[in-house]
Symmetry: C2
Subunit: 418 residues, 2 copies
């Protein structure tokens, strides 16, 4: 079964928002064994929407449309769909009641724009939107299914999960796609490719390998295509095991895992705690860790020590040390990590101090210069990096590099402890 | 001039990465007055790439292609382009030298995969990639320009900025598009629409209005289309002035501004400082503030007080208070804000304590219950919220609501001080 996604909205084409819906839908459909053939983003423009619908009907068995269903005048998807399917809007009192009850729970008074959301095309099956006021719509024509949903991500996700997937599952899908993603850190793409070249060449034709580099990591995605889900899973598991033996120290996780999650698991296993002392990362390490549910079990918190005063006051970094070596130095990074570990009574700590940019660089310490220190029960490690990127990227690279240093330290401590 | 963007890569269609390149390109092209007509994402598949190129050639004057230029075997864009333009790969020694010097600066040894990146189609103009090893390619045919670039965002951005835009500017573009975005907070979309209904109806036909709701804010985008840039700018400025008089308290900024930036400006103007005391937001407020360059001028740092121990130890919140009212309470939120303000010697502070979820909720305090407190030179304010969302969204909503409370407090303090 082949799907096409159509996203409708000027805001995507002029780059005001990033299209995260398509990625979410692609992931979910894949798990159901439905291949996304194409994603097409078009304007809030009648002719353009009609053209995209017609082209998608030719290519795909399933067309998922997002966007343009809001209560305001710039949203024209509903009327365009009426014309495409040669039908007209009819009033649904039960939808009006839903809109009314949802808005009153938010202390919003229903107006004409809201009540127009109860007008829906006569020939569609209305899909309940538990998260918002714009209903989904399900049309069928010439063996192609069309589903229209609002563009607000959590509303689209609610309709997909509660209404669309159960219906698709009933259709009985046979094509299997199995993906497994291996998360690596510490090797650039081409060095990684060289290290695993023989392994890659030996992959069977029905398993594809893709390299997905980012500032955080290089992901290796294995995709198997066939008819038997369990055969594909077994084969891919075997290939992943071989890969692990080739680059064990560079693989930190799989699929949707992240370094924060992996570190959390290691800390829970060993019953240890973590704190942070962040200067140049400005809270991003703490944010990254606390994005994972359950992080309060091992993460106690920490200090965002942006000013030297706070480095001194809360982390006991001596002012003389900062004056002698500068805030961006091995001495200060280590003093921050040890100070946080002690003051906040934690087993592990991670500290960053650097120049994120765009200002603050010098010849000796250019923008991107970062010192990272990680402390554990048996001691401390620190390292200097030169990331040479823009502010955002320097913060991301520092965050992930620091977390990987921490991961390695915990692994070493845990293996020593055994 | 009409542009189409083609992004090539299975990773987009299976949802493994979010396509941020298209948004960036859309923004930049708009500023040059080039309208993006469509974004199309296709597989790393020869036939599909050829079909997308042919369709784009029909619709657009400019086709920008990203992805599939890496050194690894899954990347087939270069060979597909050779076939499409009926040309062959030729070796460029100067590109090989560039690849070699770039990799050696990163301590990577050049291998066969890297040296193949010096093979490029004979009929294209090679575009220098200052940020990576995969060159850009510029083709022209039947009055359509095709540009192929790597999919790694910072490499694509380098080639666009240094090579593509200067060439496009030389073409002499006349169509003008002017966008102005008004950032609002504190009113849901439909209530906002009702408040500005008359103003919206009075907009001339060549100015379009779009509502862009998100968990952070509702953005109102005005887009003017015409031939005279300065006429459009004047007209849109006038309409925005009218809008400000309608909803003054809900407008916090414009275009790419964010609450952190706006708050930073207010603090710099009044020469005041800020600290944070974050529990449920786990560092996200600090991260949001420090994402803005120059934030060290007014942001001193703060405490991520995830554990009660840290709330007590670093922010002087009495343990008896936490035991009596619970960590998620008005009393604790206010004690955190006052504790941070005092201990960290700051003019302003912002504190959050709540249940982000998915665990930790109770009947009395369900997931999404949040107390926010903001303290300033003249006093403290606090408020309870029930966000009722998932973890990620609760953190985002709390962050932005807290920052907006802070913004309002600073405005009040500044106007009182005058």
């Amino acid at each position: 079964m082949k799907a096409e996604l159509i996203t409708i909205g000027d805001e995507i084409l002029i780059g005001q928002i990033v299209d995260t819906n398509s990625a979410w839908m692609g992931q979910q459909l894949n798990m159901l064994g439905i291949e996304v053939y194409q994603v097409t983003s078009v304007h809030d423009n009648h002719d353009h929407i009609m053209k995209a619908l017609a082209e998608a009907e030719e290519n795909a068995d399933l067309v998922l449309i997002t966007g343009g269903l809001g209560p305001t005048k710039d949203d024209i998807t509903k009327n365009s769909l009426c014309e495409y399917f040669d039908t007209e809007l009819v009033y649904h009192p039960e939808i009006f009641e839903h809109v009314q009850s949802l808005l009153s729970s938010r202390n919003v008074i229903v107006n004409q724009l809201n009540s127009d959301q109860a007008l829906l095309p006569a020939s569609c099956t209305v899909l309940h939107n538990s998260a918002g006021t714009a209903s989904g719509m399900w049309f069928e024509r010439n063996n192609t299914i069309f589903v229209s949903m609002p563009g607000v991500p959590f509303e689209m996700e609610a309709i997909m999960t509660e209404e669309v997937f159960p219906r698709l599952t009933k259709l009985g899908i046979t094509q299997s796609i199995v993906h497994k993603t291996v998360l690596t850190i510490g090797l650039p793409e081409s060095m990684l490719a060289e290290k695993i070249e023989e392994w890659e060449s030996a992959l069977p034709g029905y398993i594809k390998l893709a390299y997905l580099p980012s500032p955080m990591m290089v992901r290796l995605r294995l995709s198997g295509y066939g008819t038997d889900q369990s055969v594909l899973e077994t084969e891919i598991d075997q290939r992943v095991k071989e890969l692990i033996t080739l680059i064990p120290e560079h693989i930190f996780g799989f699929d949707d895992e992240n370094l924060g999650l992996v570190i959390g698991r290691l800390l829970v296993e060993s019953g240890k705690t973590l704190v942070v002392a962040e200067s140049c990362t400005g809270g991003n390490i703490a944010h990254f860790i606390t994005s994972n549910p359950g992080s309060s079990a091992y993460f106690k918190g920490g200090v965002v020590a942006y000013s030297n005063e706070i480095k001194n006051k809360l982390l006991d970094v001596p002012m003389e040390l900062i004056e002698a070596f500068g805030a961006v130095s091995q001495q200060v990074a280590e003093a921050m990590a040890l100070g946080a570990q002690k003051a906040l009574n934690s087993d592990y700590s991670v500290a960053t101090t650097g120049i994120a940019g765009p200002d603050g660089g010098s010849d000796e310490k250019p923008v991107g210069t970062v010192w990272i220190a990680v402390a554990g029960p048996s001691g401390i490690q620190s390292k200097k990096y030169n990331f040479k990127h823009n502010r955002e990227r320097n913060i991301i690279r520092t965050t992930h590099t620091a977390l990987n240093m921490l991961r390695t330290l915990i692994l070493t401590e845990n293996s020593t402890a055994k």
